[in-house]
């Protein structure tokens, strides 16, 4: 299928999400749409898929001007979409999910499982996509669930496949498998529109790259272009992909954790005898596969989870089992793992969120009455200083992109005098520009003599930021190593293997 967009414009009120977008996807081509979060990629996809109607411009399919009234029409015309969040029924089998909505039936409207299974086998074979038709979707790993989504699209005879940020939830191996599938689909003549903000993937797979920024096409690029070139096109300025750090000598201990034991929600020990020290002016990066106790450790430090035994001190002050208020007052800044759940009140304004944990502190309140002028000027200063992209300080924080929401939290935590800066997955879901920015802020805190503890499941981030890297496995620290340690060694530590410590 050849898809051509001419001058597509989509507005929401006064906000223009897409402005005169031109784009052509040729048959058998893998076309990457590269852009930061909030650049208008998803809006454009929803326009193509018939979920939104463009305000201006036209769409041509194989040279014919086409307009979809709804997504059902798009599916019938051969457009398949794999959403970032899967649209599958978890308790149904693979076969049932694939035929959902177009079920083959026997007499009395009974589902014909046999035919459903055969249909899937034939599609699987044609495109070399192995999935057991009888497997229950929720029991499959995420990579296979995604494969079911692709199968579903293909079983509806999709000629153009839209993949919206498909790799965000996948492991490195699963990403490789997905890339192989994409290549073989393209080889069989399908067109693929691949939406992402990850540069490595774009370079690995794209035939053509279209970069959009703030709703407009800023140009096309080649897969052979360097990551730095792609990043600067996407962000609109030069981006530094490595973290610049000067060596500083760490000072006295800021955070001291001794023999800490913390239980998870099921009552099992999630942190099992952890001792760790973070000194002033150093970044300790806590690496590990998700679910090895990092979350519980951070929650215990932040005063949000009960400590069974052991102690936590910040600059000599015991904060073990203190309330979050007391921990905050001890000079701990905390960027929580789930920013929308713990870090923000989405239905409140940017200004209110920027004083969320200091509403009573002067000058924001006096005698129990809030000083909204001070709240506003604080917000204006922080929005400028941290480059938070928002229409106004009174805008609801829910209207901001993920990266800017994260900036709100970082700005709030860094606007108080801190001893310890604690950040869990600080760049999860953020685009290149925002990641660079958050990293720079973290390093700046370190340089200012604050102790920093970062928890991240991204090895790149751990290696780029950490002055020391602590690896966690099943609730214990399996090793504390130097950032010059090889990825293989750290990977081994993440699986719990015993490795000779590089830093004694």
């Amino acid at each position: 299928m050849r898809l051509e967009l001419r001058g597509i414009t989509k507005r929401f009120g006064t906000f223009t999400a897409n402005h005169r977008i031109d784009l052509t996807v040729e048959p058998g081509q893998i076309h990457c749409l590269l852009g930061e979060n909030g650049a208008g990629k998803s809006t454009l996809m929803n326009v193509i898929f018939g979920l939104l109607q463009p305000d201006e411009g036209e769409m041509l399919i194989d040279g014919v001007v086409t307009r979809f009234a709804d997504s059902g029409e798009a599916v019938r015309r051969g457009i398949g979409m794999v959403h970032q969040h899967f649209m599958l029924v978890p308790v149904f089998s693979v076969a049932e999910n694939v035929v959902l909505g177009f079920e083959p039936t026997k007499s009395f409207d009974r589902l014909d499982h046999q035919r459903a299974r055969e249909e899937i086998r034939s599609v699987s074979q044609t495109f070399n996509l192995e999935v057991d038709p009888d497997a229950i979707v929720e029991e499959l790993p995420v990579g296979l669930q995604q494969r079911v989504e692709i199968l579903k699209a293909l079983s509806h005879d999709a000629e153009l496949l839209i993949l919206d940020e498909p790799t965000a939830v996948l492991t490195p191996q699963e990403i490789d498998a997905l890339m192989a599938i994409m290549r073989s689909l393209a080889a069989s003549g399908k067109s693929i529109l691949f939406i992402t903000h990850k540069l490595k993937e774009v370079k690995a797979i794209a035939d053509v790259i279209t970069v959009i920024r703030q709703g407009e096409v800023v140009g096309t690029a080649q897969a052979s272009d360097s990551e730095a070139e792609l990043a600067s096109m996407m962000v609109g300025r030069d981006v530094n992909l490595t973290v610049d750090k000067v060596t500083v000598s760490p000072g006295e201990a800021v955070l001291t954790i001794t023999d800490l034991v913390v239980r998870d929600d099921r009552g099992l020990p999630a942190v099992d005898g952890v001792s760790l020290t973070v000194r002033a002016g150093e970044i300790v990066a806590l690496a590990g596969v998700q679910g090895n106790g990092q979350t519980e450790l951070v929650e215990a430090i932040a005063g949000m989870r009960h400590v069974e035994s052991g102690t936590i001190t910040v600059r000599g002050v015991d904060i073990t089992n203190r309330t979050p208020r007391e921990v905050l007052d001890a000079g701990v800044g905390h960027v929580p793992e789930d920013r929308q759940l713990h870090g923000l009140v989405l239905s409140m304004s940017v200004a209110d969120n920027l004083v969320l944990n200091t509403p009573r502190r002067a000058p924001f309140a006096r005698h129990g009455s809030r000083n909204l002028a001070a709240v506003k000027s604080n917000a204006e200063a922080l929005v400028t200083r941290f480059d938070i992209r928002t229409t106004s300080t009174q805008a609801l924080v829910s209207s901001l992109s993920g990266g800017n929401q994260q900036k709100v939290i970082v700005a709030r935590e860094l606007s108080r005098p801190l001893s310890l800066f604690l950040a869990s997955q600080p760049t999860r879901g953020l685009d290149v520009g925002s990641i660079e920015y958050v990293h720079r802020q973290i390093v700046r805190q370190r340089d200012d003599g604050i102790g920093v503890l970062i928890v991240s499941s991204e090895l790149d981030e751990v290696l780029a930021l950490g002055d020391r890297i602590a690896v966690m496995h099943t609730g214990r620290i399996s090793g504390v190593v130097d950032p010059s340690t090889s990825r293989e060694t750290i990977g081994l530590l993440m699986t719990g293997a015993h490795v000779e410590p590089a830093d004694a």
Binding site: A302, M304, P324, V327, S347
Partner: protein, 416 residues
């Protein structure tokens, strides 16, 4: 394109944005719904429609009878609760009969006074994510406490009235704190506890009314002594005016101003709203959840208690077994009113006025046309139903849904 025609854009501009507009259209739909009820339950109208095919003039007659009946009902509802243009004109031109002309609005304000206070209390709890279904019991407790102070102590007005009102607040705080403490310390679900506590207070009311302390001398029934005049809220325009609207209105105004300041400007109100909007973030930000729960029940209960004592001191003057029972149960109506007003003080004022006007007008309508007062309840309920389904209202009136001002649901389900 429909969006680009100027007529459409003006319509969209007028109607697209405010939740207030949706509420207004919900009222229109509620009145339409009420009209259907009138048509299908009034014999003369039904008779006229039954004869629809009997003669050439019959269809016109049927429509006329319908319009007459519905028109009369709604006209009397309006003149009975706001003002009658004729009487008002008479008062303006002759200077006579002002009392007559102002009686309808006075009645509406009288009913709206305690309702507003109680609804504000419920609304503050809602904004904190707390369902206080016990406002009626708390108001009743306020009435009981007020009756003790208002009948057993004898003081000059400057002391007696404030003490009576404070007693009412204290009674409400007491009744509200029981569920509050239970929730804060044991995690008991506030909906169950507040709801059940209403029955406890009802029993306390009857018990105290039959006790020798409160019962009027020589009485065998559940009637208390009348409040001392020094403990009563006097009519705003003097007893001679015949208008029942009383100084409770001033209290309600103060409460509205306080609630606005509290929610929008105070630090504690900020904590409350953060807790209501995202309890997890509230905890992470160092807000003490237990303290918030205990305080919100005290404030919500205190306001309900104030509503109860205002109702007693301004309207009934005598506590009896029918106090806040059945249709008079303002604590229950307050839940609906608060939702209708989107839990915001100003919205609650309008919603209370609407509910009071429908009630007062409904009584006038019943007296004049024989259409049962229950029609007012039907309209009230229909309006709330339509407000609760903004999507339906927007669809019916083709209102533009703007993504930036998408309506928030007033509540998020049973808070835990």
């Amino acid at each position: 394109m429909p969006e680009s025609s100027p007529r459409r854009s003006i319509w969209a501009r007028v109607t697209g944005q405010s939740p207030f507009v949706v509420t207004l259209f919900a009222l229109v739909l509620g009145l339409v719904f009420g009209a259907i009820v009138i048509v299908t339950t009034t014999a003369p109208v039904l008779d006229a429609w039954r004869g629809f095919f009997t003669s050439w003039g019959a269809p016109g007659h049927a429509i006329k009878v319908t319009a007459d009946n519905v028109g009369a009902a709604y006209r009397i509802m309006f003149t009975g609760s706001v003002f009658s243009p004729a009487t008002l004109w008479h008062a303006i031109t002759t200077g006579q009969g002002w009392s007559n002309a102002l009686t309808p609005i006075s009645e509406t304000l009288t009913y709206a006074t305690p309702l507003t206070i109680a609804s504000i209390g419920v609304g503050i709890a809602f904004q904190t994510g707390i369902f206080n279904i016990g406002a009626n019991g708390q108001a009743m407790m306020g009435g009981i406490a007020g009756a003790y102070v208002g009948t057993l102590i004898h003081l000059p007005t400057v002391l007696h009235l404030p003490f009576t009102l404070l007693a009412g607040i204290a009674g409400g705080v007491l009744a509200g704190s029981v569920p509050g403490l239970l929730k804060a310390y044991t995690g008991a679900h506030e909906v169950i506890v507040t709801l059940m506590f209403n029955y406890v207070v009802s029993a306390i009311l009857l018990y105290t009314l039959l006790s020798t302390a409160l019962q009027a001398p020589g009485q065998q029934n559940d009637i208390a002594r009348t409040l001392d005049p020094s403990a009563q809220l006097a009519p705003l325009f003097g007893t001679a005016s015949g208008l029942r609207v009383n100084y409770g209105l001033v209290i309600a105004a103060v409460v509205v101003l306080f609630a606005w300041w509290f929610l929008e400007r105070s630090s504690l109100g900020f904590d409350f709203r953060v807790t209501g909007a995202n309890p997890q973030a509230a905890r992470a930000s160092g807000i003490n959840a237990k303290a918030v729960i205990i305080l919100v029940f005290a404030i919500s209960g205190g306001l309900a208690g104030l509503a109860g004592v205002t109702e007693l001191a301004g309207f009934y003057k005598t506590l009896d077994g029918g106090f806040l029972v059945g249709n008079a149960g303002i604590g229950f109506t307050a839940i609906t009113v608060s939702l209708l007003g989107r839990n915001k003080p100003i919205g609650i004022v309008w919603a209370s006025l609407l509910f009071a006007a429908l009630g007062v007008g409904g009584r006038a309508m019943q007296a004049a046309t024989g259409i049962p007062l229950d029609l007012a309840t039907v309209i009230q309920s229909a309006v709330v139903l339509f407000v609760a389904t903004p999507v339906l209202v927007k669809e019916i009136f083709r209102l533009r849904t703007s993504p930036t001002t998408a309506l928030q649901l007033a509540t998020k389900g049973w808070g835990s």
